[in-house]
């Protein structure tokens, strides 16, 4: 019908236009995401959805997050500001910028590349569209990026500050230079084309909005969106009891000093509706697992956002950041300085930052906080496929465990790690076997792998496969949790066992390969990954008896664990609850 006339400040009071504009930003993000997902060639992007998109205003403020990995998305706002700082006025319509440098461009680890595309209207730069994705390869001494023990960041791959790869719609020579230094340039071309196409669609849609509402009015609405998100976030933060809460979380090691955990330490100060997360007590920077500042930010944001009510979960933007202060001095593992390696980020130490921040919140508002999710477990395999004689990089995250429980809800199986927020998608067996010379023997839930509790953690995975190619490099850089694990809430339990990867050769000899290592999976080797699930919330003795029976019937929980941990006695023949014995068992526990 009639369009509400754009123009003056009184428009800000128009709730209809505000709703409409807000929705439009969210739907543009969804569209971008669809284009990337549907047309990428990169396994990690197309099948695993390891990417995100975003929209920013000319000042680099995040307007709307909607789609993508939390561990990647929080970085966008810092990155666009780095781009603006570097290029200033020298940005033209049709330019495309690429970057991944954690030190000059707020990258995470090098395989996560970010593209930005400026959107102009009436000759003025109004917005930036962003697309960000994990690439198959970024050069460096080994394919795939997830290898521990690199000498410095240059050995991990090509380091790219904000760089113009298209100038006014024309490819710049530096793009060829970049493609010549990575391993799968043809694939990268398709993936970048998909991301650029997505950003151009965003441009078209943004221009439609600008035409309808006018640049100035739209700017007012963006201000209002950011302000109202801040108000809504602060309203909820104000309910958290004031206080100082201290926590710590560790990763297994840094891949060089074996078995020496690296600690992230957090002091949360809640004062009114302001939160300060101070990580100053964390360990100094180490090797490989260092968490660049942008990933530290993203992880803290994830911890806070997941503690808020579900209703505002789609509305986060720059305003959400304003009430959250993060102290992360340079030179520590949560804000490393050049030339520290960062290959495991944002998984390792991003997870620990998230856990430390969330656990700190759990001390204040335990019923709103999820228990720790399973630590990420996914090995990289690099070799040659005898069927095609082509190199392959197999990064499939197929053995990730479950999410932690949250009061009122059991965890979900197979959706970790928390830094990815359940956005990662696993590859089909039928795709993996067609693409890689591995015969998958088993891909199932692991009984008794969920942390016990009134609400149980989501289960972990039992994954087994045989190497049908030649020797393959085995990289366990994006795994963690062989000797460390996350926190529980309100008396819930952690899973009984740790993550474990073993290789059994055709002679029947078995050896364990720990997280953050580089090894070799020989021809014919059987690779087994067994993962712990998420942690539980609340006393397991309080878990609903019928729910425990259901768990046993479905073999999520064994009869033995039901009795020992949940105090529920079940007759193994009739599979019925022995009410009297259960009562005794729970009373005497």
């Amino acid at each position: 019908m009639d369009t509400i006339a754009p123009g003056g400040r009184e428009d800000l009071l128009d709730p209809v236009t505000r709703s409409v504009i807000w929705n439009k930003f969210l739907s543009i993000s969804r569209e971008m995401s669809t284009i990337i997902e549907r047309s990428s060639q990169n396994f990690v992007t197309a099948e695993l959805h390891d990417f995100c998109v975003g929209l920013f205003d000319a000042a680099g403020r995040s307007i709307a997050h909607y789609v993508g990995l939390p561990g990647q998305i929080g970085a966008g706002s810092l990155q666009v500001k780095a781009l603006i700082a570097r290029f200033g006025d020298d940005i033209a319509p049709g330019d495309v910028f690429l970057m991944n440098d954690p030190y000059t461009a707020f990258g995470t680890h090098l395989p996560d590349i970010t593209l930005f595309y400026p959107v102009f209207f009436e000759g003025v730069l109004v917005c930036y569209a962003m697309a960000r994705g994990h690439q198959e390869d970024m050069g460096g001494s080994l394919p795939g990026g997830y290898f521990p023990g690199a000498y410095d960041i240059h050995a991990e791959g090509l380091v790219i500050p904000p760089t113009r790869i298209y100038q006014r719609g024309e490819e710049t020579p530096v793009y060829e230079f970049f493609l010549a230094n990575i391993r799968f340039p043809d694939g990268m071309r398709i993936d970048n084309a998909a991301m650029i196409a997505a950003m151009k669609v965003a441009e078209r849609r943004l221009r439609e909005m600008l035409t309808q509402y006018g640049r100035e009015a739209l700017g007012h609405y963006i201000d209002e969106m950011i302000d109202s998100t801040e108000r809504a976030v602060r309203r909820e933060l104000a309910l958290i009891p004031d206080g100082v809460y201290r926590t710590e979380a560790a990763t297994d090691d840094d891949g060089q000093n074996f078995d020496k955990p690296v600690w992230v330490r957090c002091t949360l100060t809640v004062q009114g509706d302001d939160l300060t997360f101070d990580f100053s007590e964390s360990d100094p920077q180490v090797s490989f697992v260092n968490c660049p500042l942008s990933a530290t930010y993203a992880s803290v944001y994830s911890a806070v956002f997941t503690s808020l009510s579900a209703e505002i979960s789609s509305y986060h933007n720059e305003g959400s950041y304003r009430a959250i202060r993060i102290v992360a001095p340079p030179g520590l593992c949560i804000n490393p300085v050049y030339p520290a390696t960062v290959g495991a980020a944002p998984i390792s130490l991003g997870t620990q930052v998230l856990e430390a921040a969330a656990e700190a919140l759990s001390k204040a508002v335990p019923h709103n906080i999820c228990a720790a999710w399973a630590r990420h477990y996914g090995c990289g395999l690099v070799g040659t496929d005898p069927r095609t004689n082509e190199r392959y990089v197999f990064l499939a995250h197929v053995s990730d465990g479950g999410s932690g429980a949250i009061w009122g809800y059991d965890g979900w199986p197979h959706i970790s790690p928390w830094v990815c927020g359940g956005e990662l998608v696993r590859a089909p067996v039928e795709m993996l076997e067609a693409h890689y010379p591995w015969h998958i023997v088993r891909y199932e839930l692991m009984t008794d792998s969920g942390g016990a509790g009134t609400y149980r953690g989501g289960l972990g995975i039992n994954w087994e496969a045989v190497n049908q190619g030649g020797d393959a490099i085995l990289l366990t850089g994006d795994s963690d949790g062989d000797i460390t694990r996350g926190y529980t809430v309100l008396g819930g339990k952690s899973p009984d066992f740790f993550n474990k990867l073993t290789l059994t050769n055709p002679q029947g000899e078995t050896r364990q390969v720990r997280a953050h290592r580089q090894s070799v999976a020989g021809a014919g080797d059987l690779l087994i990954q067994r993962t712990a699930g998420g942690c539980g919330v609340g006393d397991p003795m309080q878990r609903d008896v019928a729910a425990v029976l259901d768990d046993v019937r479905n073999e999520y929980v064994s009869l033995a664990q039901a009795k020992a941990v949940y105090g529920v006695v079940i007759d193994p023949v009739t599979m019925r609850i022995d009410a009297a014995a259960t009562k005794v068992c729970r009373a005497t526990h």
Partner: protein, 685 residues
């Protein structure tokens, strides 16, 4: 001979009766819950009396009843399917529970969400020793003893349906088919289905889950359709009862029972046929939209093809079978307006449904709905709702609107108009999303719309989406029932043939096409189609080597040749560019699937032309009514026209209201409506 199509909705049962080369008539009767056929018979009674014949005489003339049903969809949504068991490759029994690790549409910042329980719980999923390799070769033979033991266990456990789901069955179904054979022998009363028969394409989670959904709802569908058939036969019906499939085509009852996944969305999937039918004369790019009480459903038609998708999620279940790409959002007359935690006014997806319904229904609803807003805006005549069958309570609408007005610090009029605007925005966004997902620009489309609530909103929606022309068919209020008259009888087939284009063997491709066409011919002739009427549409799914998703393109009929393969590749590049905004001609292309659709055309219906009289609006004009069009235009006296009195050639400038039996059409200020020779309304927005 008559063809009757029936759409049984929550509130009304709609029927359209056609006579080849003759009349098209529409009837409505309240739905009867419990004995659904009563609502259908009531429509037939109305039809008989309209034709001046007895019910028995009419029923003798009805050769086919075409039915679209939400029975299967509802069983899935309400989790009331049958107890189902699953036989699956040992080592992979959790595939449908692992869900590829997806949270599917849930915000990563929202963790207070219950895990969507699989339709078959783990305890009833049994691993069987067997294994095919990625090329379809047998790696481990099927252990038939295990199959027997597993089926006995499932039967003892009370399972009424068994889904057989093995890896790589889409390339080599031998193990699945054998296991199903054993299962049928041991459990003759159970519904046994295989993933190969359900959807023979790669990706085990998608294929297995689709199969399990089919198994879960299969018995429900069979019971529903057999009961309806029995009741109709008892009442004197002696013809064929045919079904609308989820891909929009028509199939017979037995084929639907064999593969019940094809009955999901049967009902809504008939709507786009209306757009295809009426819109074709105006445009090659059409959006079909149906707005009822609780949902708004939109689909695209391009070059006379209703677009399909294999990417559906329904009730947290992944369904990978090809279905009409109907995008449904919770927007309808019953959609409720509320403020969310960001103080944004939201309309829908929550709905007051038909009970209590909008506040103005006077059944105890207290929250403001879209219908309440439309009443307060003057768009709906409270005395003439559903042709006067129902009186609306304006005071109740006013009371419900008060909190919305307070929350906005606005007048009641502005609050009502805000609801109208916001619901229209949601629907316009849905249209935009439909189009842009496919790489289309909505401004190039014609919008064909119907449904009980569609007429009031569609012109406004079109304006918001930049669409310049809207067509509202005369039969808009029975949109889907009308749509069920139109589709062809069809069956779809698919074979996997993964080859790089330059390695593809034309003879092998032709052999697969021929095999599918033989099957299709057999099924269609069995269902009564004349052999000489059957035709085939061949398509292939292609992708760039290395990609994970395919794009479907048409294949020329006739023998495949290196030259025709080149044409297919060229068509792929073009379609890829249209869909994803880029193509890479240097990159190698590979074939993945070959498909055939076997088609037996439905005889065309002929609409009666209405008389021509450009002056008819003068006679059709009833009393004016005051309507509110927002702050800029305000209240305006708006002429109301009796739709039945308008003739072809009539042109009406907005603002105006056109009252039809089942719906009212709003021509907004500045828009113009024209009546075509069939009584359809073309609105220039």
């Amino acid at each position: 001979m008559l063809r009757a199509s029936v759409d049984i909705g929550g509130t009304f049962t709609d029927m359209v009766v056609t006579e080849p080369g003759g009349s098209v008539q529409m009837f409505k009767s309240p739905s009867t819950h419990g004995r659904l056929s009563e609502g259908v018979m009531n429509c037939f009674r109305k039809a008989a009396s309209a034709r001046g014949s007895s019910l028995d005489a009419l029923l003798c003339q009805v050769e086919t009843i075409i039915h679209g049903t939400t029975a299967t969809t509802n069983a899935l949504l309400t989790r009331t399917g049958v107890k189902t068991g699953m036989l699956t490759t040992d080592g992979f029994r959790d595939i449908i529970e692992l869900r590829r690790g997806m949270r599917a549409g849930v915000s990563p910042y929202n963790l207070k969400v219950k895990f969507p329980e699989p339709l078959v719980p783990r305890a009833r999923r049994i691993g069987i020793t067997e294994r095919m390799g990625p090329g379809g070769g047998v790696l481990t033979a099927l252990d038939e003893g295990e199959v027997e033991a597993a089926v006995r266990r499932l039967v003892d456990d009370g399972c009424e349906a068994i889904a057989v789901c093995f890896l790589y069955s889409y390339i080599n179904p031998a193990h699945e088919l054998r296991a199903a054979q054993i299962a049928r022998r041991i459990a003759p009363d159970a519904f046994v289905t295989t993933s190969y028969d359900t959807i023979p394409s790669s990706r085990e989670f998608e294929r297995f889950n689709t199969t399990v959904v089919g198994a879960y709802v299969g018995a429900i569908f069979a019971a529903y359709i057999d009961k309806l058939d029995d009741e109709l036969r008892e009442a004197g019906f002696g013809g064929h009862l045919l079904l609308i499939q989820s891909n929009g085509g028509i199939q017979d009852r037995q084929t639907a029972k064999n593969n019940p996944v094809t009955t999901l969305l049967s009902g809504p999937s008939a709507g786009p046929s209306v757009g295809q039918y009426f819109g074709g004369a105006y445009s090659s790019k059409i959006i079909s939209a149906d707005m009822g009480g609780t949902s708004f459903e939109a689909a695209l038609i391009q070059d006379n093809q209703i677009l399909l998708t294999s990417n559906t999620w329904l009730s947290e279940q992944r369904i990978a079978a090809k279905m009409v790409d109907v995008h449904s959002i919770g927007a309808g007359g019953g959609s409720i307006a509320r403020f969310d935690s960001m103080d944004l006014l939201r309309v829908g997806p929550a709905s007051a449904g038909s009970r209590p319904g909008p506040a103005c229904y006077g059944n105890g609803g207290t929250e403001a709905t879209v219908t309440d807003a439309n009443v307060l805006l003057g768009y709906i005549d409270p005395q003439f709702f559903l042709g006067g069958e129902m009186q609306l309570d304006v005071e109740a609408a006013r009371a419900a609107m008060a909190p919305i007005a307070r929350g906005m610090s606005a007048s009641q009029d502005d609050a009502a108009h805000a609801i109208f605007e916001i619901i229209n925005e949601s629907m316009a966004d849905a249209l935009n999303e439909r189009c842009t997902r496919r790489g289309f620009d909505p401004r190039e489309f014609l919008l064909v719309a119907g449904g009980g609530a569609g007429g009031l909103h569609v012109a406004a929606i079109a304006r918001k989406a930049g669409i310049r022309r809207v067509l509202i068919p005369k039969f808009a209020s029975a949109y889907c029932a009308f749509g069920m008259q139109l589709p062809d009888f069809s069956q779809d087939y698919v074979r996997t043939y993964t080859r790089r284009m330059h390695d593809a063997d034309p003879a092998a491709i032709d052999a697969l096409f021929a095999e599918m066409e033989r099957e299709g011919r057999a099924v269609l002739t069995r269902s009564g189609a004349a052999d000489e009427n059957i035709r085939f549409a061949r398509t292939a799914d292609l992708r760039y080597v290395g990609q994970f998703n395919e794009v479907e393109v048409d294949c020329p009929s006739g023998p495949t040749s290196p030259r025709s393969l080149e044409e297919i590749a060229e068509a792929f590049h073009i379609r890829h560019d249209q869909t994803f905004a880029f193509s890479i001609r240097k990159r190698a292309v590979e074939l993945v699937y070959l498909r055939v659709r076997a088609i037996a055309p439905t005889p065309p219906i002929s609409l009666r032309e209405i008389g021509h009289d450009a002056g008819s609006p003068v006679r059709a004009r009833k009393a004016d009514r005051a309507c509110y069009f927002g702050r800029v235009i305000g209240w305006q006296q708006t002429p109301v026209y009796a739709g039945d009195s308008l003739c072809a050639g009539a042109a009406i400038e907005g603002p105006a209201l056109l009252e039809e039996a089942g719906a009212t059409i709003l021509v907004p200020p500045g828009a113009r409506a024209e009546v075509d020779r069939y009584g359809n309304y073309l609105i220039h927005t």
